[in-house]
Amino acid sequence: MINSLPPGFIMFIGAFLIPFLPKLGRQVYMIFLVILSAFSLFNGFGTHLIINVLDYDFIINHSDNLSLPFAIVFHIAAFITIIYGSHKDDWKENLAVISYAGAAIAALHAGDLFTLFFWWEATAFTSVFLILGGNTSRAYRAAFRYIVIQVGSGMFLLAGAVLFLHSNGNALLGQMSIDDTSGLLIFLAFGIKAAFPFLNGWLQDTYPEASEVGTVALSSFTTKLAIYALARSFAGTDILIYIGALMTFFPIFFAVIENDLRRVLAYSLNNQLGFMVVAVGIGTELAINGAVAHAFAHIIYKGLLFMSMGAVLYRVGTCKASELGGLFKYMPITAVCSIIGAISISAFPLFSGFVAKSLIMSSLGYEGLSFIYFMLLFASAGVLHHSGIKIPFFAFFAHESGHKPKEAPLNMIVAMAIGSALCILIGVFPSIFYQILPYSVDYQPYDFSHVLSQLQLLTFAAFAFICLWHFKIYPPELNSTVLNSDWFYRRMFPAVISNLVNGLKILNEKFSLNCFKSFNSIKNFFHDIMFENKVIDREAGFDTQIVLQIFGIIVFILIFLHIS
């Protein structure tokens, strides 16, 4: 029975012992849970556990060639995050990290929509504590918005699952279509978590508000779980190509003007998700391999970049480009790790981003999607600009900020070193990396033409930045807020609703006043003809008025009945 439990389940359940353990024991225990969970990955492909409840089969543990690479990298990410956060004595954060990672890993092994829904919501409820861990009033407000949106995504998934079950007689998690309502609802649920255009505001709004450890954990699981779900159910759905292309395109401009470097990384995350979504939309074996490879590599290098910025935040107390600079002298190891992450995300040859992104670009070439191809090529130059250069340059070089922090704690350095090593190993030995991808790969990323093209693209983009900076054309970073799609629900909708309520209030007041005036004038009219003009030549009191009013109501009802 224990062998049949899904990987991650032991982490999710085991997390509830964490509050009762001392700090050191807690760290060892968490790593033990991750290793124990990872052992379940050796169970092999197939369905390992089905539980029948009320005549419905919940497929709790199903493993195949698509879930395995995601499960491997989720375990690696959990392991690195635990090491990265081990300097802190915060059992709440530890509990949130391990249960969140466990829920995400278990979600990968769900074989039906209702089991997926359970873990989908579990990731939402566990991860919100990581944002609360930011421990600021902004973080509390962001956490509230986060949970509303994440649970909202779950509601779409549940509604879609119910409709799917109703129309198909089962709720198996397999290939779906957006042509029917259930598929569309599920697509929307996945799209919210994958940060589709205009549904992405929560990502840039909330991730940078979490603690330095929380952001690293958040960047690894939720969005990649959504990519996995899209690859599982909507591979080859054409619209994803265009959605993904937009996702790669727009965030780069916002990342350029954003001042908070962790928020820049959140925009960059969105841009990278776009590459994966495009690949899922293409849906060929090469493209799905590309999406999975990119998700795998991305979790590691993005985690590395978030770790380096987290170390800066931990030591300096801010991640704003306008308040940073010149930290290389004081945090050289962190800077080197950040640069390795930056080089990886930019997809320089010999680093992980290159061997992953190449699969996606080649699949676009094979399908003849030239416009999308050049959009993604443009976005690649953008990635270099905002993640490859902006992040390390403004934090560790640029101008002297006056901060003289100590190097990051040892545990952070170890975590970053593991991330850096993986970025290089994947880049140098792509054939080993390709072996864990869903489909067998006959692809060679390192040929003269491909390497030269990529080097020219990136080096000249870097040279353009150097020219802009050297000739003082590049404007200084400013303390600011950059409006994103979260503006719609943080400003526009509240303003519209408030104005609507105020308008209705004014309308109601005017209506009441007019009614009152009309009623008074009718009353005065009757009063005049009855008393002042002596039409009724006898005393008439209040009871007479009542009788007249009842008479009037009866007449009104009769007229109304007659008309209807």
């Binding site: 093209s453 080097l455 353009a464």
Partner: protein, 77 residues
């Protein structure tokens, strides 16, 4: 030699190194055959031009967007 000393002095050491790498990458076009996924990529120095122009465009658009999307730091507070 004078030229290089002057260049390094005016343009900075790292910037000059990047410039030299750029020149070497352009010269490599004549050493082996470079081809792309699409016909237009076979144009001489295409990736270099594309990378340089893209970065300038991203910068220009980003700066233009500042006036539209940039607000005070406490805008939402």
């Amino acid at each position: 030699m004078m030229f290089f000393t002057k260049l390094i002095k005016n343009f900075g050491k790292i910037n000059s190194i990047v410039l030299f790498i750029c020149i070497i990458l352009l010269l490599l076009e004549f050493v082996g055959h470079r081809h792309g996924e699409f016909e237009i990529e076979n144009f001489l120095f295409f990736p270099a031009l594309f990378g340089y122009i893209s970065c300038i465009v991203i910068f220009k658009v980003g700066v233009a967007l500042r006036s539209i999307f940039m607000r005070d730091e406490d805008y939402y507070d």
